[in-house]
Homo-oligomer: 207 residues x 2
């Protein structure tokens, strides 16, 4: 199964289309192998203009649902509990691609961007399962190692469910610099400028 | 100098206020020591609702200005060139804080979130300087090692300047788990559950 994509859909990758995937499996895998999401939402101003806000958060996924959690009075959870639209990006930065020209500099990465609407999870069993999913996403099996959550802990934590309505993965890994052929023939430039990839340890914790 | 903060300002950190900083120096340093930003903006829908979009990007900073760049026809740069509002978060994830209770699980991190409006940089000298700042933010001194940019390369790259109007840094590092005193007295729990910090290599490249 794949997310719908076309010239007018929000998930349409316009630049470097060959790097894009839209299938559920790629989207879900990129979410599962990441750890930190950057969640974006739009606060409506009095004058009708929207202010974007981006906040880093941990998260969890089950099926095609994303789970977020936060303190009961937090701005993000209160906003998303009203059914507002949300976007979240998770990015693995894997290396610097250093070329001979500034223009061809790049990074090796995999990123996933998802879109949907928030929904407050009120049903106690789903809330508890969502908190387990978020905790186990940090460390597999962690929930069962911990003590049970208390009533007060559960009361002060809100859980938001986001059905993923649209999404894309963009990946460019194991790429070498892609300089202009003429530059590779410029021996003085090639001798004076180091080019290649500076690889990082990946941010992936489990996968 | 500090960014204005109050109960109604967008940068107001409500939860764990003791972790927040609003001074220019802390904001600029967190930007400079990061590498990857997550940029959020709001696309206006036909029905008046806004759709948030979050995209990972490299960036550069000079004084209190943030510079972003992108392909000439890219959605983000076209949107921001119209003077639209933008938010960007940069997050360093430094470790997992694993507690005895799921509720006290946390991460060690530093994050900075900035707010402003996009503006297209049209003046050729500032454009070139901004591209140098973005390139040198990847690797210090890199611009001068590379060949000069061609006219076509410069024509196909748009540069956006964002004056940082509001911002906050939130930092929680070197923190041990903060479990309830009663849990530390539960010897069976303490024996069966490992708690402590799993530290990562930091994402900071230079600082």
């Amino acid at each position: 199964m794949s997310f719908e994509v076309g010239p007018k859909t929000i998930n349409n990758v316009r630049r470097h289309k060959e790097r894009a995937s839209y299938d559920y499996e790629s989207v879900h895998r990129a979410l599962d192998e990441g750890l930190l999401g950057h969640v974006g939402f739009c606060l409506e101003d009095e004058d009708g203009e929207s202010t974007p806000v981006v906040i880093p958060m941990v998260y969890g996924r089950k099926d095609n649902f994303l789970y977020l959690h936060g303190y009961v009075s937090g701005r993000l959870v209160k906003h998303l509990a009203k059914g507002k639209k949300v976007s979240m990006a998770v990015t693995e930065l894997n290396g610097l691609v250093l070329a001979l020209s500034p223009f061809h500099h790049s990074v090796n990465y995999r990123s996933v961007v998802v879109f949907g609407r928030g929904e407050l999870v009120e049903e106690p069993e789903e809330r508890l399962e969502a908190l387990q999913i978020i905790t186990d996403h940090m460390v597999k099996g962690r929930w069962d190692q911990c003590r049970d959550s208390t009533k007060i802990e559960l009361q002060t934590t809100k859980v938001i469910r986001v059905e993923i309505e649209s999404a894309s993965v963009k990946e460019s890994n194991n790429k070498e610099p892609n300089d202009d052929p003429a530059d590779y023939k410029d021996l003085a430039l090639c001798e004076s400028t180091w080019s290649g990839v500076v690889s990082f340890f990946t941010n992936t914790i489990h996968g």
